[in-house]
């Protein structure tokens, strides 16, 4: 039985429009590659490390290829050719390339099939490693205790990975299920991924493969201690979206913030670059059994949560349609939404709850990620703690999957240890104390809440149909999302978008999609819920 009576014909129309929207950008995704995708290919093929100037080796090699006008063939093609040309192994050739002992433009281009044979083995090897890590996760979550959703998600953000570890372990012991390591401000605009463990970030800690590994190990340790599997999250977004997806897949991250439009709207990253990158990065996420989290909550940090609620829904449906094309299963698509209504609004809680129930109804299989109040949080930590409690209540009543816990000091600083403890205590108290309220209440037919949900749905549907009409890129140009206007050729990173040549080669999409579209692909995502 539906909890809120929602007009399902509108939902169908919305999804239909989203399909047309996704169709509209597929040609670009198919026709182009990006520097980041190519660097990602290198990473997957084992290229890692930095030179003496701290420039990552994948950047060195891809920049060489780009400068030489070779990138249109795909870095894998030239790497294969170089291997064949020099007659050495993959590790050897990458060492030579990155130390510039071999220059790509001197390499003889081999024929496609030969290159393919040379690369294929390496590519499948890393894929089975990634698959192994996925299975490792499945082993770790099977049988052990698991919390009941909403899962408690908290962030750490000290800027120092070692300090983050302390915070993360403490949070897990307090009851957190999911830990996100927030990135340093500005990392999303870097066109490379920093290297090694880092201890200096602002408002967050750099996403590096070493940091991923350090945190994963720490959480595995604390998982064993707590007898629960603690999930790790990072940000698969910005100019290095595909590379980070690869790093996460290799280091067994469990979730990734990964949105089809976030970078365009909020980081002014070029839209073509973003659409291309997100498609490839999502395949990796899908294959790694990662749950992605989309970023619709961000709309409501600049736009009004009541007025613009429909843009959230519209974006969710688009994110869903695009994600499906990358092979993500519904259970992996953690669509984002947020509790950002002005707390002084009469009946604001009813509207929030209506929207939360609406999302739950429209995306019954998605592990919805519910974001807490942030915009209206002030330095009044006491009031803020209450707003977070009402958010937690809405989460448990509407049956959200992932609850990003609000922190009473949201206006003040990135969370201190005690702030996080209080946030977890808040959630545990509210969710336990009102655990089955969801089953106990029904909403009035034709009431405020039902009306609100259908109104948002209707607006979203008509918006989606309009977007489908004019195309997604034009819609963004017109500022239809988050009231932000971006140009098709504006923003950062367009210079990294390259039209693929006839002989373009990248082994991975084929490997990934084969698995992802097989009926065997049934990643275990959430464990057994041996309820407490």
């Amino acid at each position: 039985m539906m909890r809120l009576d929602i007009d399902m014909t509108l939902v169908d129309r919305a999804r239909c429009a989203a399909k047309r929207i996704a169709d509209g950008i597929q040609p670009i995704i198919d026709a182009y590659t990006t520097t980041s995708i190519e660097r990602c290919v290198l990473r997957l093929l084992g290229v890692n490390g930095v030179d003496e100037n701290d420039v990552p080796l994948p950047n060195i090699i891809v920049d060489q290829a780009l400068a030489a006008g070779l990138l249109e063939d795909g870095i894998a093609y030239w790497l294969g050719s170089a291997m064949l040309h020099e007659g050495v192994s993959l590790p050897e050739i990458t060492a030579k390339l990155s130390s510039e002992k071999v220059s790509l433009d001197e390499v003889h281009p081999f024929d496609h099939e030969t290159v393919r044979r040379a690369i294929w083995h390496e590519a499948t090897r890393v894929c089975s490693y990634i698959k192994g890590r996925r299975l490792e996760r499945e082993r770790l979550i099977t049988g052990v205790n698991s919390s009941v959703p909403p899962y408690l998600y908290v962030i750490v953000a000290t800027g120092n990975i070692y300090e983050d570890v302390i915070q993360a372990k403490a949070a897990a012991k307090c009851g957190a299920d999911i830990i996100a390591v927030i990135r340093s401000t500005g990392q999303s605009l870097l066109d490379y991924v920093p290297y090694g463990p880092t201890t200096e970030g602002f408002g967050g800690t750099y996403a590096t493969q070493a940091n991923f590994r350090i945190m994963r190990e720490a959480l595995d340790e604390v998982s064993r201690e707590c007898g629960r599997y603690i999930r790790l999250v990072n940000y698969c977004s910005g100019l290095c979206m595909p590379e980070i997806a690869a790093m996460g897949a290799l280091e067994r991250l469990d979730m990734m913030l990964n949105d089809a439009m976030y970078g365009i709207l909020f980081r002014n990253i070029n839209m073509q670059r973003t659409f291309i990158d997100q498609h490839f990065s999502r395949m990796i996420n899908a294959y790694a059994g990662v749950v992605i989290n989309t970023g619709e909550d961000n709309y409501l940090t600049t736009a009004d949560a009541y007025e613009e609620a429909h843009t959230v829904l519209a974006s969710q449906v688009i994110n869903e349609a695009l994600a499906q094309r990358s092979g993500l299963r519904a259970e992996q698509i953690g669509l984002g939404h947020a509790y950002e209504m002005n707390p002084h609004m009469q009946d604001g809680f009813l509207y929030e709850l209506a929207q939360a129930e609406m999302a739950r109804t429209i995306f019954p299989e998605a592990p919805l990620k519910y974001m807490p109040p942030t915009k209206h949080m002030t330095g009044n930590i006491f009031k803020g703690h209450l707003m977070d409690a009402m958010f937690n209540l809405a989460g448990v009543i509407s049956g959200q999957t992932i609850q990003l816990l609000g922190i009473l000091t949201e206006h003040v600083h990135t969370p201190h240890l005690q702030d996080r403890y209080l946030a977890i205590e808040n959630a545990k108290y509210i969710m336990n104390n009102a655990r089955h309220l969801r089953e106990e209440i029904t909403y009035r037919k034709g009431g405020i809440m039902e009306k609100r949900a259908n109104e948002v749905l209707a607006k979203a549907t008509s918006m989606l149909e309009q977007v489908a009409e004019i195309s997604l890129m034009s819609a963004i140009e017109e500022g239809m999302f988050a009231s932000v206007k971006r140009e098709r050729t504006g923003g950062r990173g367009l210079d990294g978008v390259i039209r693929k040549s006839e002989r373009y080669y990248n082994p991975f999409p084929e490997i990934f999609m084969k698995e992802l579209t097989s009926s065997d692909f049934q990643p275990v995502l959430w464990g057994d819920e041996v309820k407490g």
């Binding site: 953000a157 000290t158 120092n160 300090e163 302390i166 915070q167 002030t378 330095g379 009044n380 930590i381 006491f382 000091t409 206006h411 003040v412 600083h413 990135t414 969370p415 201190h416 240890l417």
Partner: protein, 263 residues
């Protein structure tokens, strides 16, 4: 984490960052100067990087502040020595066995919440059959005889009862602490006991949410029990302290009249 125990500082999100949160109200209308006053006050308290993150006018003549800052003070944990209740905590069975073996008779205690204080839940938790958090109260112990006089008992009545039943221990509960009324009341009881000349014959024990063993020692009591106390904690202490004092008395006796006790 490499904590220097000789200079412990508050922890926000990095070792020794000193972060803490304050809230308080100043009796002045809210204005830029009032905000500044809040900041200065926090600085006087030894906070650096003071951030007045919230300021709100209450009824036009008061201002409420939430403040964060980094505390420059530190504490030497290695130098802290606090009196602790001197007892190994035993279980219900162990306590009864201990009394049976070492004392050989039932221990008599009288208990009350004295003065105008009417909060009996705490003392009831320790004494009454039903007990607290799944533990039986002393009434239920076969090797204790407990008299619970209830609430708002004058100190004089409590003492009289103790004398009447020849109590081994007097247990007094104090919950209301406004204007330090509990200190007055507890001091008064100690004086009465002293005046009656029975101080060395009776264990004097206090308890309550704002009571610490330290305070008890300060006021001349034998022990003090704070929040979360279980009946068995109190039972353990009484049994062991009593056994000890019987032993002491025996030894004293031996010293004074060596030939009498050691024929």
């Amino acid at each position: 984490m490499d904590v220097n125990m000789t200079r412990i500082r508050p922890y926000g999100d990095t070792l020794d960052d000193g972060y803490m949160q304050l809230s308080f109200t100043l009796p002045v209308p809210l204005c830029a100067e009032a905000r500044k006053a809040a900041e200065i006050l926090a600085e006087k308290m030894g906070l650096e990087d003071v951030k007045v993150v919230y300021a709100h006018s209450i009824a036009d003549s008061f201002s409420f502040f939430v403040v964060y800052g980094r505390c420059i003070h530190s504490v030497d944990m290695t130098a802290i020595e606090i009196p602790k209740v001197d007892a190994d905590f035993m279980s219900y069975e162990e306590i009864n066995k201990f009394i049976e073996n070492r004392i050989g008779r039932r221990i008599v205690v009288v208990a009350a919440c004295t003065g105008t204080d009417a909060h009996t839940v705490g003392i009831d938790a320790i004494i009454n059959m039903k007990g607290y958090r799944g533990e039986y109260g002393l009434e239920r112990y076969p090797w204790f005889t407990a008299y619970n006089l209830g609430s708002q008992v004058p100190n004089e009545d409590l003492l009289a009862k103790a004398i009447q039943v020849n109590a081994d221990a007097i247990l007094v509960s104090q919950v209301v602490t406004q204007k330090n009324i509990h200190i007055d009341n507890l001091t008064h009881l100690a004086e009465l006991v002293e005046a009656e000349g029975i101080r060395d014959r009776v264990l004097l024990i206090m308890g309550g949410p704002r009571i610490s063993h330290e305070l008890a020692i300060e006021l001349g009591y034998d022990a003090g029990f704070g929040p979360g106390t279980l009946p068995s904690h109190v039972g353990s202490f009484i049994a062991q302290a009593l056994a000890q004092s019987i032993r002491n008395r025996r030894e004293q006796a031996r010293e004074v009249y060596p030939c009498q006790t050691n024929p």
